[in-house]
Symmetry: C2
DNA sequence: CTGAAAGCGCTAACAA
DNA sequence: TTGTTAGCGCTTTCAG
């Protein structure tokens, strides 16, 4: 097992000083063509690579971004993680990933501390919120934090979201246009901003058509939770004609429960709509009407927000709300006359 | 924006030397109760946290593990990532994650170099293989690499897999017992060891019952690929009675194509079985017969392998093959008389 | 353009 | 138990 190659060894082999080696590998540093070739040759022969930690220590730039994520069972998040990671890699950043269990609120706290210990240059919080004390600490350290698919009242906190309210309105309007009057809603985790905004939009969309919610259950963003909610909501004779489920992941559970447990047809007996438009929503087994989150643009904006505040920490918070799009599929249909 | 707190500042405030501060925060170092309290108090007041990079540099232990992953669309991997990350976090390790596109073989090469630059203490390669030159380099650096859900001929490479061959046999036997004789197989990426082993096991399982494959297509582990394969395989009049699809992710595509494009019933017209037993396989929309990978044990073994070789790099490769289990569900049924 | 020298924040001998 | 002293591998002045 050969030891690690340092710049000093390269320097010796190339017959130059250690700092010369450093310069050769540093963007925009001065080195004569002769030195460059000598050093590069020696480096290649030895298999030299710069120690990212040592660089990070001195420059204060670790080129790492912390990513805290929960709900990986919901296909929306793996997809986001993948794209985010790719976008960051393209910019020369790397991702230190942490799982947060959504239920344990202060687990996030502990996890964030650990992330900060690694001197990350920024943090992305996907679907988790943070205590304001913690956000203050990050601000003090000058570490930008951006909330992905979640918002907080604190206006100093950057966030990238879809227009959840508008999406809710779109679904409400869609249901009204289809002629449904008995309407149900299955909520996500009550504390989540996405849940609140989508529900409020949905209610307002319905209200604009003179409609109101006739049933509401809480699924907590879980498959099992949504399944139980659907069963509860639709077991009786007064079941809704149309149900908006706060995200696709739960909507699949609702469709499954309706079809396979209650023997109901979707959309003939009950229309179901979700939110996110994850790839599975397009699979013919579900063919789910959904409000699409523009995930590419969300990721783009998240990276943008991060980069801006890394370059200029004094810059004010970047709060973006992107438009999505209603994707009409076969899980919603007009009310029966 | 307050500057970063260093151990020196804590030392000054506590009226002790900088190294005393270091000792207070180091496991098993000597410090009098009096010093400990003084230092801890000062540290708390200042909000001091150790700089993980600086520690890593000196100790040579970054407490980071590199994770390279592809195919995040296949639910098996997000699940694995989540559990792996949690298991590692419990042991005080953190995960630097990299996405590798499965098609670009040498993308992995580049990505691995970057990981190594961060002085990770180990690397997990999920569903990707590596060139032998690269594995040599890792060995030289004394960095343990473990292959998760993939194998390589190189016996010096640690790996954790399910008994893919045995799983294939189990499915083949299952089909034979159900009385099917026209059998199809939809392959994953041809190069993957999982693909090869599962297919070989399947063929051998069939052969033991005097059966043979009557159709074979390649889906490359992709939903779209599997869909096309299914269509090709089942459009004619000589379609198979039972199809084994190399993983669940593709099996969903096959079921969807059969049902919604070809108007066939599963399992009445065609039996379909997958491999992995991801959570979606249990959803009633698919209710898929599958060979379960013991993901918890796989993760446990992966962490174990890593830890062992981190502690003792001279230790020989850890190659584990875990038993899975055939999960019979409603997507497979006896042949019609 | 180049080498010498001073650290980044911390751990780990080494004396005291 | 403590403080002092070297560094870890690298970037970055600062002279030359």
């Amino acid at each position: 097992m050969q030891k690690k190659i340092t710049s000093l060894q390269v320097a010796q082999r190339a017959g130059v000083s250690q700092s010369a080696v450093s310069r050769v590998f540093t963007q925009g540093a001065s080195a004569s063509p002769a030195t460059v070739t000598k050093v590069k040759k020696a480096a290649a022969e030895l298999g030299y690579r710069r120690n990212a930690m040592a660089r990070a220590m001195i420059t204060g730039k670790s080129r790492m971004i912390g990513l805290v994520v929960a709900y990986l069972e919901n296909q929306f998040y793996p997809e986001a993680v993948e794209r985010l990671s790719n976008a960051l890699q393209e910019r020369g950043y790397h991702v230190l990933i942490f799982m947060a269990s959504p239920t344990v609120g202060d687990g996030v706290q502990a996890v964030m501390e650990e992330i900060l210990d690694y001197q990350v240059e920024g943090i992305v919080l996907a679907s988790v919120s943070m205590s304001s004390s913690l956000s203050t600490r990050c601000a003090e350290h000058g570490i930008p934090v951006v909330l992905f698919n979640r918002e907080q009242d604190d206006a100093s906190m950057s966030s990238v979201t879809t227009d959840n309210y508008g999406g809710g309105v779109a679904i409400g309007t869609h249901f009204a246009e289809l002629g449904h009057t008995l309407i149900g809603y299955i909520a996500g985790h009550e504390e989540a901003s996405t849940q609140r905004d989508r529900e409020q939009g949905f209610r307002d969309g319905l209200a604009a058509a003179g409609l109101d919610l006739s049933a509401r259950q809480v699924g907590n963003f879980l498959y099992a939770g949504a399944r139980a909610s659907a069963l509860e909501m639709c077991a009786g004779t007064d079941r809704p004609e149309a149900i908006f489920v706060c995200n696709d992941h739960m909507a699949f559970a609702v469709v499954d429960a309706l079809r396979f447990k209650l023997g109901l047809r979707v959309p003939e007996d009950v229309s179901v709509a979700g939110f996110d438009d994850v790839p599975i929503a397009a699979w013919p087994a579900y063919n789910l009407t959904s409000y699409r989150q523009p995930i590419n643009r969300m990721v783009g904006q998240t990276v943008e927000a991060l980069m801006q505040r890394i370059e200029d920490p004094s810059r004010q918070a970047h709060r973006v709300k992107l438009e999505g799009a209603l994707i009409r599929r076969g899980s919603t249909a007009p009310a029966k006359r």
